[in-house]
Point group: C2
Chain length 385, copies 2
C-alpha cells in the first residue's frame, strides 16, 4: 500500500497506458509487425529530437549510447573538448579518457552553466578539435546548458562535431537538433521519455555519418554503422528491446493526447517554476540561477540547520516521497527534486506539501503553506492563459 | 484477435505473472528496495547457472555481454580458440576479430556438434591460448554442444579461460558452470528466461576475475570490474533494467512453482522429444542427430517439394503460427521451431497440429495426425512416470 511518490531524476514513474502497451504479446524482431512498429515509432520520435534524421534505438542504458557517440567518431589520440558542469559531464570525460582521446576539459563550478562566452574563450587557443562534447541537462546540478548557443559557437569556430548528452531532459525540454547544429543527440528511456530503463535513443547528422564512415571503430555492440544499415530495413542488428519500443509508441500517443510536444514542454516549464517559486517562498536556497534552470530537475540547498540524510529518509519513510540526494561534493548540501516525464502540476503541489510537512516534523521555522501557495499561484496563472 | 503463436528461438512469449511484475511501480536504483530486489533475485538465479559466483546483470542484449566476456579477458594480439558450429559461433568469431585477437577457428559443419575429440585434436598444436570460446546452444542449427566435456578438455590441455555463450538455452538446459569448469557463462533475457529482451546475465569464475583484474579493458559500459564493484553493494554502475529485474524475480517464482529448476529442464527435454518424434512420424528430416539435439530449438528440414518461404508465411497468416526460417546458407533449407521458456507440451501439440494443417493446405502427402500422435505418445509416457 506504499504509493512510492518517485520524484527522482530518473527512473521516473511509468504511465499505465505505457505499462499496458509493454505487456502486449511478444513479437519477433524479424517480422513485418516489428518493422511497422519500429518505422512508425522512430518516425514519431523525430519532433522530440527536432531532426529529420533517423532515430536509432539501442537496447542499452544512456551511458552506452554516449560511449557509442564517442567511440564511433573519434580515434585514440585525437583532440576533443568536453564541457563539464557536473557529475555527468565528468562521466563524459571518463569515457573519452578511457578511449585515449586527448581531452581538453572545459569545467565550470557545479551549479553554473557553460555560456557562449566560456566556450568561445576556451576554443581560441585550440585547433584540430575533432569533437566537442556537452551535457544539455546536467542531472547532478539541475543546469540546462544553453546548447543552442554552444552549437553556434562550435560551428563558427571549429570543424568539430557537436555531440550532446540529452539523457535527462529530452522529452521534457525543447530540442532542435538540426537547427542548433547538433551532430549526435543521445537520450535514455527512463527520464522524461516516461519508460523503464533499458532503451537509448540517438540521432546522427549527415556530417557525423561521414566522420563515422571514415573512423575505424573498435566497438561491436555499439557500432553505429551496423545500426544504420539495419535501420534502413526497419530493424536492428541484434534483438532490440521490443517491449520498450511498444511502450515508446504509447509514449508518442500520450504526447499527442497532451496536444503535441510543445504542450509537453510547456508543462515542464510550469512544473519547474512551481518548484522554484515554492522553495523561494520557503526561503530555501536553489543551487542554480533561474536563467539556466533545468525544466526536468531542480537542485535545492539543504534547509539551514537540517541534517539532510535524516530529512530525506524521513520523507521517504513517513510520506513515501522519494527525492534524490546530492552527488559528489554536493552530497549533504543539496537534494534533487525530479519533475519530468509522467509528472504533473498536481504532483508538484503534492510533493511541496509533503516537503512542508516534513519540515514541520523537523521543527523547521517557516510560514506553513507558503510554499504550496507560491506553487499554486504559478499553476493558476498558467491555467488562466 | 490474433493469437500470435510465437514459436521462435527468441524473443519468446512472456508469462502474465512476469508482465504484471514488470508493471509494478517504478523504483529508483539507488534505494534499499532496489538493493533487496537485486540481491535476492541474483541469488535465486545462481542454481540456473550452477554457480556459487555472483550473477551480474547488464542492461543490454546478450551480444553485449558476449562482447564484455571477450574484451575484459583478452587483449589485442593474444591467441584464442573459437569453436563455431553455426551462425552464432561465427558471431563470436567476429567479436574476437573486431578486437584484434589472434583467432584459431574450430569450425564444424552446420548441424554438427563439436565433440571432445574435435577439441582435443584442435588444441594439440596450439600453445599460449588465452581463452576458448564456445556456444552451448547454437540457435541457427539446434545443436547443443557437449559443453561439460569441452570444459574438461580445456582444463586438461590448456591454461585458457573457457567462455561460454549460453544465450539460447540457459533456463531450459542444465548448466553446472562451476563443476564443468566454465569461466564465464552468458545468457540473455528473451530466450528460455521468459523475459522481454534487454537484460543480459553473466557469471565469472574466480580464475577469470584474476585475468580480468590484470587485463586493461578498453570498454566503459561493458567494464566488468565496475559491475563487480557495484554488485558488492547490491547495485549496478549505471541505471539497470529495473522492470526486467522485477520480471526476473517473477521468473524465479514460476520456476519454484514448477517444482524447481530440475522440473523446468525436464519439461524442455519432453518438448524436444515431442517435436523430434512428431517430425520423424511425418517423415520430415531433422538437421541434427538426437545425440546433440537442443532442448530449446529444433531445426527441421524443408519438407520435400515445399517452397519454404510460402509455407512459413501461410502458417503465419492463416494459423498465426510464427516459426523461424533458416540463417545463412540454410535459408530455405530448414525452419526452426522454438520450444523454450514459457512453452508447454500442450503448445507443442498445438503447433504440430497447425504444421500438419498447413501441410494439408499445401497438398503434402502424409498420414494425417501421425505427427500429433507421436508427440502425444512422448507426452503421455512422461506423465505416467
Amino acid at each position: 500500500m506504499n504509493p512510492n511518490i518517485l520524484r527522482h531524476p530518473g527512473p521516473t514513474p511509468i504511465p499505465k497506458k505505457v505499462e499496458l502497451a509493454m505487456a502486449q504479446d511478444m513479437i519477433s524482431h524479424r517480422t513485418e509487425e516489428f518493422v511497422k512498429l519500429y518505422q512508425e515509432t522512430t518516425h514519431r520520435v523525430k519532433p522530440i529530437f527536432g531532426t529529420k534524421q533517423d532515430i536509432l534505438l539501442l537496447p542499452s542504458g544512456g551511458t552506452a549510447a554516449l560511449e557509442a557517440a564517442a567511440v564511433n567518431t573519434v580515434s585514440p589520440g585525437e583532440e576533443v573538448v568536453v564541457i563539464t558542469v557536473g557529475a555527468f559531464g565528468d562521466y563524459f570525460v571518463s569515457i573519452c579518457e578511457k578511449y585515449g582521446f586527448h581531452v581538453h576539459k572545459l569545467a565550470k563550478n557545479w551549479g553554473e552553466a557553460c555560456t557562449e562566452e566560456d566556450l568561445t574563450e576556451f576554443l581560441k587557443p585550440l585547433s584540430n578539435i575533432k569533437a566537442v562534447f556537452a551535457t544539455y541537462n546536467e542531472t547532478s546540478t539541475g543546469i540546462l546548458n544553453p546548447i543552442n548557443q554552444l552549437g553556434k559557437v562550435v560551428r563558427t569556430h571549429t570543424e568539430a562535431l557537436f555531440i550532446v548528452d540529452g539523457v535527462s531532459c529530452i522529452g521534457g525540454a525543447p530540442a532542435e537538433m538540426d537547427e542548433w547544429g547538433i551532430d549526435i543527440l543521445v537520450t535514455g528511456s527512463q527520464k522524461a521519455m516516461m519508460l523503464p530503463p533499458g532503451l537509448s535513443l540517438l540521432s546522427v547528422s549527415e556530417r557525423a555519418w561521414k566522420v563515422i564512415e571514415a573512423n575505424p571503430t573498435p566497438a561491436y555492440y555499439l557500432n553505429l554503422l551496423s545500426y544504420r544499415e539495419w535501420a534502413s530495413k526497419g530493424m536492428t542488428p541484434n534483438t532490440p528491446a521490443i517491449s520498450l519500443i511498444m511502450g515508446l509508441s504509447a509514449v508518442c500517443d500520450l504526447i499527442e493526447e497532451e496536444g503535441g510536444f510543445v504542450k509537453t514542454i510547456e508543462r515542464h516549464e510550469v512544473m519547474k517554476s512551481m518548484v522554484r517559486e515554492a522553495m523561494k517562498a520557503l526561503s530555501i536556497g536553489l543551487l542554480t540561477s533561474d536563467e539556466f534552470a533545468s525544466p526536468t530537475i531542480t537542485a535545492i540547498r539543504t534547509p539551514e540547520g537540517l541534517e539532510l540524510p535524516s530529512f530525506l529518509e524521513h520523507l521517504k519513510k513517513k510520506y513515501h516521497l522519494d527525492l534524490a540526494g546530492g552527488l559528489g561534493h554536493l552530497q549533504g548540501k543539496i537534494f534533487r527534486f525530479g519533475h519530468m516525464g509522467y509528472c504533473f502540476p498536481s504532483d508538484i503541489l503534492e510533493a511541496v506539501s509533503l516537503i512542508e510537512a516534513g519540515l514541520q516534523d523537523f521543527s523547521y521555522l517557516f510560514e506553513h503553506g507558503a510554499g504550496v501557495r507560491a506553487a499554486q499561484k504559478v499553476f493558476l496563472s498558467t491555467l488562466s492563459k
